[in-house]
Amino acid sequence: MSISQLLPLILLLPLIGGAINGIFGKNMPKVLVGSIATLATSLSFVFALMIFFQIDEAVRVNLFTILSLPSIELNASFLADNLSIWMTLIVTGVGALIHLFSMGYMKNDPGYYKFFTYLNLFIFSMLLLILGSNYFILFFGWEGVGVCSYLLIGFWYADAEKGMLNSMAARKAFVMNRIGDLALLIGMFMILNQYGTLEYLELANMVTVGQIVTSPEMMLGITICLFIGATGKSAQIPLFTWLPDAMAGPTPVSALIHAATMVTAGIFLVVRSNFLFELAPFTQDAMLYIGLITSIVAAFIAMRQNDIKKVLAYSTVSQLGLLFVALGMGAYTVAIFHVTTHAFFKALLFLGSGSVIHAVSEEQDIRKMGGLKNKIPVTHITFLIGTLAITGFPLLSGFYSKDEILAVAFGQNTTLYILVLISVIMTAMYMFRLYFVTFHGTYRGSKETESHIHEGPASMTLPLVVLAVLSVIGGVLNLPGIWFKNQAHWLSHYLERNTAGLEKIVTDHLADSTVMVLMAVAVLVTLAILAVSYSVYVKKNSIPVEDSELSGWEKVSANKLYIDEIYNFLFVKPIVWMSEKGYSFFELYFLNGIVLTITKGIAAGGERVKKWQSGYANWYVLWMVSGIVGLIVYYLVKI
């Protein structure tokens, strides 16, 4: 089949799967529901692979015209190029594995069919976002994934204790995302006004050829708006606090949406718009600094979190920060490489945490875990691989992708390199802490839960194993130039072909010796932290204490830098105050008061006029006669 036939199929399959499950799923056996959803996503993956093997130039497929006005034409058209197909492979591939995992994980949930409907709709929206050939379709997907994210964060909305909290978390995520969405929309207006189109290919052509000269201010405005949009979806300062709360959703959702795919939409947006960002150095710097600060702040918070999912959530925020650092330096392909490996190991870690939570009767506090390594061996080994991959342990996937970012940073300046290294060090610290406290030592939960600890079914362990393998070997996609010279940087070269703008960007590589030194530093640092963590958490067997006993930086970290409290004070409280006072004072007292005053005035006037209607005939005769006289006088004067 040709690409133009395959592309709509890739999109439609998850939509059809979602529709079948949504309409008929309630009365279908659970296995069938799960299989349909998993199959739909897997088939999309297979079709994406078929495109992957035959694509040699960007192909655009126009399905229909959504809106055609004199000044704009908005098409439902889709673009297959190397970037979008690569992202499609990640989304459908990792997505299919997570679907499979969910079949085991959600087995006993009454909302089973709803869950799979939402998952498939999410995949559909995500594919709209990735495969759309213009910003308009991207925006459709962009908001669509937000809706699915909302539905899935608040999936357990009827829970007796947490139902309302889950709903609030969902709403928070959506509202914060919407702030970014508005900026993205404004950015689209600017692009439309400036270039008259939202199609990537035409835009790239106009911008790079320079048909239309754009002032630096305009370019700054466009890119800043797009970037703010990206900070919402990809959880960067200041719009990142929704992501940790989003952990209220079922764990496979955290793995799929809030780690592997949706949160990388912001990165994708920037890579897609690389030709715009290349002309806006200020925005690039802004991305770099925001990314760096986010990365360090989130890593700092992650150091003293005790909820297994919260640690991973802050870790995701921190890794996304690193990605923005890469983007800020113009290293777009490096960013996509790290997006890829991050999708592998972060999905693995989240699914692993799901497997842990599943095993210990829905407990999420690592202080009540411990000693799980022999009880759930598959989860343990795969989680360990995930941990090593994210901390950049030699030869695992994270090692290569992180080193690329470090190397680019080193190429820019040393201070930047050191700051990124600090973030990497902190990552190793909280990840090893998480791993050791969860899996080593002795079990600290109740006796009753201990007896229930068990490994999940094959549908849960299989995806863990596959993702673990990918996390180990993922690095070969983009080897540094020091080994296998001819095969080096395969992914970068792949992405630079057929992707608007990227082919023009020249990436220079550091000398082999420098790369070797940088690698050695990274390896030594990781190993050192591993050793220290081992001695603290395993040898000395120290367990995290209660939050109330913390002081100094640990207290600040455990309390998430008080950012929620600050936002609450700065934004939520004033708006609530305005809403309540606005209603009680301005609406009911002031506006209503004005109207009442006017009507009272009229009523008082009426009282006076009423006296003229005295009911005495002689008064009426008088009025009548004066009226007639008046009229006669008037006409006489007029003549």
Binding site: Y157, A170, F189, Y583, E587
Partner: protein, 486 residues
Amino acid sequence: MELLIIPLLFALIALFVPKQFLRYYALIGGLVSTAVAVGHVVTYVPADLYVSVFDPNWASTFGLTYKMGYDGISLIMIVLTNLVTFLILLSNFNGTLASNRMFTSMVFFMQVGLLGVFLSMDGLLFYVFWEISLIPVFLIFLWFGAPGRKADLIKFFIYTFVGSLAMLFALMMLKVGGSGFEGAASFSWEDLMKVQLGTTSALWVMGGFFLAFAVKIPLFPFHGWQPETYVKSPMAGTMLLSALMLKMALYGMMRWMLPMAPEAIESYTMPVVVLGTIGVIYAAILAIRQKNIKRTFAFASISHVGLIAAGIVVMSYDAMTGAVIQMVNHSLVAVGLFLAAEVIDRRLGTNEYENLGGIAKQAPRFAFWFGAIVFAGISIPLTSGFIGEFLLIRGVYFYDMTWGILIGTTLILACVYTFRAYQLSMNGPSKNFNFPDLTWNETAVFFVLMVLIVFIGVYPQMIVEVIEPSLKTLLDNIHSSQNIAH
């Protein structure tokens, strides 16, 4: 002409239909008139100015011409009116009012009034229908409204009446003429449009129209009558007010206010954009902490229509298209949201959040459809609201960047109060009450609404093609007379 006569007949005959058949009779009436309107759309061929449906070619001594007709824009409003009337009757099918003759008759009378407004191509006729349409909705409120409504009734009446008088004044001024300009030959739309107003008189004429429309939309700060009227009217009344009656005013802005006094548009654009923006933000913020679901939606309505009004006065073709799409969308969403409030009220007898919660668990079908309408209400892509708001915000943004961004915050604020309304009533654990799921007719209404919302959201081109020639003609007319004035 059958557009007007059919509902009129249904309104009159309703008074004599046996009570047990009344609900079926109402549905038939709604269906027939909708079918007739759809027939007009199918056979619609764009004409020069408008397609004439009634023109006795006779002018009375004071200039009334009885001209009636429609163009693409009015046609969309006519279909919308008939369809929404049908949906209102359908959603009432199991209610207590369904067997009330006066109620059924009044709903059809309302339809007549609204259709008259959309069909009138004569200023005085427009005014007459404008006033006629006030009577049935007022009577529905008076007869069937919630207790404690007397003060709100009076307020509602005074507000709208003052506005109407201002419009009458503007019409008279156009016809009679004044210092520095000739009056029109008749009240017909074409003649009124030909009047060349002076700078000051144009301001007065437009001001008169504006006041009438601003009250009925309602625009901030002319909205004082709206929240309580919406809350205390019976559901059908609220739906008629929010889904249809305010569309008369938005339509009036496009058809009457802008073409009649184009000389004054430039002086009015900025103030209306500012008022619209303030209204969008002010009403949204107030909606956030309301304690009653119906009042939340009442403020939401004020917030949403502020954007439409602002989009209309910026006078760009795109924004006008967006305005028409958004008018349709707002009607559909308003019916859906108020029906959701009514579904709750019918079963629990309350709309206060403190008594609600956990309904989703008991009534999954209701949870689904209410949820779908909520997403339509916050203008998610693939729903009609997104297309409308996209074009409107873009229009305002294009006119003025700052106000465009400010008015765009509706995207953020809307999801705060709409989700809050849904979550406080539906989410959480089940409470201590029994909540039967949707009946077939309620489900049917939600279903029709969502099908239309998604269809327009995916393929808005269908509406665009109907209104395109008319909108172009309208804007060309306005621009050319604007140029003469300069």
